[in-house]
């Protein structure tokens, strides 16, 4: 069952042709990794799924992206409604300058939820889901900035998951973290597999091979190869993929 379908997507930043004719299906509740050298367009492609690129002036999309069979770029689509369905975790931890509790509750509050008991329940669930509850349950009112970088990133994951999205986009979520925090994030991704569709951009190929079901290799704005992770890392069909995963360029 396909969660996200990209159909012949071309994307431009002004005159720059950033993504070239990409078509890809992302299966529901699986983990898909995007790999490729810097500037290959993988983050740009990821940010099309929650229309984050709308914020870039002069950008333009051709083709269609469907989530649950509906074109998310159709004119009647409410972007804020779409983003409740498609959560995102960024490269650097970016908690709000608010308390830990308020960070997680933010998504619920902007959705107009006022039921205090429900919010408390969801915050606890989300923090437990992000394996952060035991570390912060005593200090929910402390500033999120008092947490370590790894904790902040898990807080951001909890924040994204609190609104129960069906898709979670992760843009190099561990690239700014130490190895132990990275391992915790990867563990989280494994825990969430099967419950939510995860698309993760990463520079770390071991990470891609550890956490993902399918992997796509991007190069110079094109999707070179997309297959089961096992196939990509053991028996890629394209020479460019082979060269990249063996570290001959990149």
């Amino acid at each position: 069952m396909e969660k996200i379908e990209a159909k012949e997507v071309d994307f431009y930043y002004g005159d720059f042709h950033a993504l070239k004719h990409i078509s890809m299906d992302i299966p529901q509740n699986k983990v898909v990794a995007f790999i490729g050298p810097s500037g290959c367009g993988k983050s740009t492609f990821l940010r099309l799924f929650n229309r984050m690129n709308d914020l870039v002036p002069g950008s333009r999309l051709e083709g269609e992206i469907l989530i649950d069979g509906k074109n998310i770029y159709a004119p009647e689509v409410q972007v804020d409604e779409l983003r409740k369905e498609v959560g995102m975790v960024f490269q650097r931890p970016n908690p709000f300058p608010k308390s830990i509790f308020e960070n997680v509750a933010y998504g619920l509050r902007v959705n107009g939820i006022k039921d205090k008991a429900f919010i408390e329940h969801r915050v606890e669930e989300a923090l437990k889901g992000a394996a952060l509850w035991n570390e912060v349950k005593e200090k929910l009112n402390a500033s999120a900035y008092a947490l370590s970088g790894g904790q902040q990133q898990r807080l951001c994951i909890a924040r994204a998951m609190a609104v129960s999205p069906s898709v979670l986009l992760m843009d190099e979520p561990a690239s700014a973290l130490d190895p132990i925090s990275t391992a915790k994030i990867e563990e989280l991704i494994s825990d969430m597999r099967g419950k939510v569709t995860i698309v993760i951009v990463t520079h770390n190929m071991q990470q891609a091979s550890r956490v993902s079901d399918k992997t796509a290799f991007f190069y110079m704005g094109e999707m070179i190869e997309y297959d089961d992770t096992k196939v990509i890392f053991t028996n890629p069909h394209k020479e460019a993929t082979q060269n990249y995963i063996t570290g001959r360029f990149g």
Partner: protein
């Protein structure tokens, strides 16, 4: 050669830094010594005495009582703790009403004795005369004089620096005027300033912002006397009509002019703070399904709150220290204002208006320096607030 050049550059830099600091310290020191000099001045005008009948039990009068006596607001000695008898005042100018030219002498050489005789013969008489004129003894006594006290000045409700025999230097009316005008100015400027800042940083397109920002910054460059002129010609008559006031010059006019003047500072600083709100925070909020407006008031404004606060405090600083525009539109009545629609007078306006007519070195002159000291402390505290807020901001963003 190169070494010598570097050495001399270093020397010049050190010297200029040192000289500047010394000059600033000298100015502050000058301000403080001149201001403190007021407390070394006698209550009664220098060189003069107040003479009363020897039988009169009153031997001490405060500056306010002296003024009330000579303004004929107090007409009976029993109000001053004396016997029940009417107060009669005598000033040197009144001499011709009491004495003939012969009695006074052509050079006023007999005036002292004549006045002493007058005071000695009338138990209710109080005379304000030069100390050198009064002969010793002869049935009169002098009201005890002491120096002006800080309590009288800082707690005094009346500002009459040119009153005779005893000038009044109560700073409360001026302080109240300054606070009222600044407070209302900020009340007006704040909502407008924040709205303009939000509009410029979040709503306006780059092109609109490119036009608007220089215009608002241009407002900072307009001389304050021009604002004052504008206030006098436009705002003052308008207020007079709208509120049906006898005079349009009022605290409100001053606050409106100051609000316009403080606006560019508030807008510029607040807008910078909002634009500096990290892009990642906005993205985080938008990615959670927040709308643009939710993002602005739940993330952008709270996270740039300290920047906005420094803008506001800087705006207050400008309002407190502003002289010319306020002088022109507030009506300059040195009374504690009952409402913002009444004329009032601020500290800087007082200094500017009165320094020219105060004799150098006199009590009035020194009192103006004391006002300068008070103003210095107010702006000093405001600057400390800015420092505190921005240092807290830095700590938070670390």
């Amino acid at each position: 050669m190169k070494k010598f050049l570097e050495k001399s550059v270093r020397w010049i830099l050190t010297a200029s830094g040192f000289v500047t600091s010394v000059v600033i310290l000298l100015i502050i020191g000058f301000l403080f010594t001149e201001g403190a000099g007021l407390f070394g001045e006698p209550v009664i005008e220098d060189g003069y005495v107040l003479a009363v009948n020897k039988e009169n039990p009153v031997s001490r009068l405060s500056a306010e009582e002296i003024k009330a006596v000579f303004d004929e607001d107090i007409t009976n000695w029993k109000d001053l703790g004396g016997n029940d008898m009417p107060v009669r005042t005598f000033r040197l100018e009144d001499a011709d009403d009491y004495f003939t030219e012969e009695q006074l002498g052509s050079q006023y050489e007999h005036a002292g004795e004549a006045i002493a005789g007058l005071v000695a013969s009338d138990p209710g008489m109080v005379a304000f005369v030069p100390g050198t004129m009064i002969p010793d003894g002869a049935g009169i006594k002098l009201i005890e004089d002491k120096n002006i006290s800080p309590g009288e000045v800082l707690g005094g409700k009346e500002w009459f620096p040119t009153a005779t025999p005893a000038p009044l230097f109560g700073v409360l009316p001026l302080l109240a005027g300054t606070v009222w005008v600044s407070l209302f100015a900020i009340l007006f400027a704040l909502p407008f300033g924040i709205s303009i800042a939000v509009y410029m940083s979040e709503v306006a397109s780059e092109r609109v912002r490119g036009i608007l920002k220089p215009i608002i910054e241009l407002l900072n460059g307009i001389p304050s006397v021009v604002y004052g002129f504008f206030g006098l010609i436009v705002i003052v008559p308008m207020l007079q009509q709208v509120f049906g006031l006898p005079v349009g010059e009022s605290g409100l006019a001053g606050s409106l002019v100051l609000a316009i003047m403080a606006l560019p500072t508030i807008v510029t600083v607040a807008e910078d703070a909002m634009r500096n709100c990290p892009r990642t925070l906005r993205e985080a909020s938008l990615a959670l399904g927040a709308t643009k407006w939710q993002t602005i008031y739940k993330v952008v404004i709270p996270s740039s709150m300290s920047g906005i606060a420094s803008g506001v405090v800087l705006g207050i600083g400008r309002a407190v220290g502003e002289t010319m525009a306020v002088l022109m539109v507030t009506g300059n009545a040195a009374v504690i204002p009952g409402s913002i629609l009444e004329p009032l007078r601020t500290i800087p306006a007082t200094i500017a208006a009165e320094l020219g007519e105060a004799p150098a070195g006199g009590a009035h002159y020194q009192s103006l320096f004391l006002l300068g000291v008070i103003l210095f402390f107010i702006t000093f505290i405001i600057n400390m607030c800015v420092e505190y807020i921005s240092s807290r901001n830095r700590a938070k963003n670390r």
